[in-house]
Amino acid sequence: MPSQPLEGVRVLDLTRHVAGPLCTKLLADYGADVIKIEQPRRGDPARWIAPFLHDLPHPERSGLFLHLNTNKRGITLDLKSDTGRSLFLRLLPSADIVVENFRPRVMPSLGLDYETLRTGKPALVMTSISNFGQTGPYRDWSASDLILYAMGHEMWGTGQPDSEPAGMANKLSLHIAGEMAYMATLGAFYGAAFQGVGQHVDISIMEVLASSIDRRAPSLLAYQYCGERAERVPSVHGIDAPPFVNYCADGFFEITVGLNWWADFVRAIGEEWIKDPIFRPPVREVAVRERFDAYWIPWCMARTKKEIVAIFQQAGIPCAPLNTTEDLVRDPQLKERGFFIDIEHPAAGRLTYPGAPFRLPQSPFAIRRPAPLLGQHNREILAEIGCDAKDLAVLSAAGVI
């Protein structure tokens, strides 16, 4: 039985909502013992965010929360109370990593800044994820997924020139920042575990996005190189033939041809019209594009996504259907690879979740437990630091847990 790579690594997880919980989920999914610490009663705000099972709001049945918190054990602790804080500090010696995504002023105001936490534990890694970073004039600004995309990413250049700039899928930017925080945490942990160097990792979601290779960093560099901004350009009425997104009989498909795959494209279509060298990219005249469309659109409309993808993949051309989430979940590739997994949860029942993001045969992803119920592991975890049933009753009555 192969062991998981982060087995025996303990993480105290103060995160909530999206970016932080994704980071600690990925630690937990690869073996870390992640203790999720939530505020008593209300818990992680993600428990109150849709989608809910059968659309009925319930703190143990949010799909967002259930997905982002697999494999974690959960306790409740009021860090604003002296008792809560001291319980946290008693748990700390057992931890290798602390991850938090409060507003930057919160941890210092609780007396839990990195310098304090690392006292007596120099190899501690602490990752702080925030909207704009731990320093700077916008440090305390509020934000949302959309605002962060607007400030950190390619929104200004995304969309049509006659419309507003457009964002990405809901909450995608927060997830992306969470995965980068994971990478940074693993890097810092490597230095801590094997060279004894602990450190504080400061993740600004805005900077993660501004350094992204999904257009933003190259656009920023191109602006330095040639002084031109990444503008919104009309996509469908451009003159590239074929465009990226095309209609067909039952939906849309995405294809990349250009000069690189032109000969393959001509072969795959195999009809006389496409052999006319005037269509060879780059096309510079709208009239040529219109002539191309007169053949191309009927060709596409006579075929389904599936047929078209098969034809172009046979020819080695990058091509894929524009799937819905339903198409995606039912897709034979993901089925054959057993990507989606069923997880049983005491309050939400048996549900299908996305599975391993990466496959390491010698040190694999594994589901050991579903997302924790609020305060589910109070007893077993606080027992470690010597709290017995009587103590728990007192803490509970005082609202600390």
Binding site: H54, L68, G133, S142, D145, L146, Y149, M151, W156, Q160, S163, E164, A166, G167, A169, L172, I176, M180, M183, L186, G187, Y190, G191, A192, Q199, H200, D202, S204, E207, V208, A210, S211, S212, I213, D214, R215, P218, S219, L220, L221, Y225, C226, R229, S235, Y247, G258, N260, P282, A320, P321, T324, T325, E326, Q333, E336, Y353, P354, P357, F358, L360
Partner: protein, 432 residues
Amino acid sequence: MPALPLTGLRILDLGIALAVPYGTMLLADLGAEVIRVESTQVFPHQTRGILAHPSKEAIQTMAPIAGGYPNREPGERPFNRFPWANCTGRNKLGMTVDLHKPSGLEVLSRLVKISDAILDNNAPGSLERMGITYPWLSAIRPDIIFVQLSSFGQEGPYRDYRALGLQVDAFCGHDMLRRYRDRDPSYNTWAVPSDYAGGVAAASACMLALIHRKRTGQGQHVDVSMVENFVNLIGHIVMDYTMNGRVQESLGNRDPDMVQGVYRCKGEDRWVAITIASDEQWRRLIEAAGHPAWASDPRFATLTDRIRNQDALDPLIQEFTSGRDHREVAELLQRHGVPAGPVLDDADAYADPQLRARGFFIAVRHADAGTHLYPGMPWKLSATPTGVRTPPVRLGEHNEYVYKELLGYSDEEYRELEAEGHIGTEYAPHIR
């Protein structure tokens, strides 16, 4: 100052295009000695440009992201001046070898012997056809870590499918989830977050394998599918389907639980993003906008009402924003406690007080591109700050060091390998 966390590790970057070159750059930033393995005999499409030697005319018509060479000039070695490549090349060493020749494989095997990990995202089967497989690599070095990033994974019916980031996004449903609410997805601007996330995933998976190796001595063959990684980044949307059978439609810039949007500001093509998530924020918006009448409008009485009637609310908000500068209106709203931020274009980003205060942009001098500010690090590390140790790597820039110092080839052998077409800093004459 302590050494960077990955100091002493050597990693081979066989990546093309965006994802793996970006992932290996993260490993290089953290201190690994990353060697880019390239060939002068094959031009890697989209990695170092669309063409090795595009004409000045050809690049004028391209968007800045593809044609934005310094001063829109291809220069003598355009492949060292391509903005995209120069965003994935910092802190790396570069060498060239032709892996299609047996003598090239011999060079690679010598490199593998002294390396810890290899990352690859060539089209499925490309390395295998040259004989570069995990069994071959692990016979040379038993504890080698081989990370292969692909669109669909190393197994399954689509394992040989060709897809770029665009197609991976499409396949995962992202195009349907990010289109304008009133327009079909053919109006989407191309975007490749799945490619970017794939690079981060490949690097993260490599870290997990390095940790496992340190603990057990074992290497392994790591399989990262860009699709499978990306689905985890839209998990809540996928789970709405698996829990409730709901196929979510695009919300445009809106949100199911909050009022939010992008609103026009003063000036040409200036915009501000605003989110109003609670009654408190709504009251504060009213205060900041100076429109007390909004508070008594029954259409906006509760959060649910405001979400339901956002079509009526948006023009009012826009009336407030449209006479104001995008940054000023965001600052005004933030002072009142309302989440808001300007939609930054490239010029705005370089002027942004937050990015400037944190030193996000880094000046880099590059021998073929000149001196410019580059977008910087995705993190800040307190004990071992990361930065630009060496500029974006040029084709074959460190051949001498790699062949002679690392691999021990003599001057004579080096000249022979050069004559055979392995070693160079220019593409072969047959490449346009």
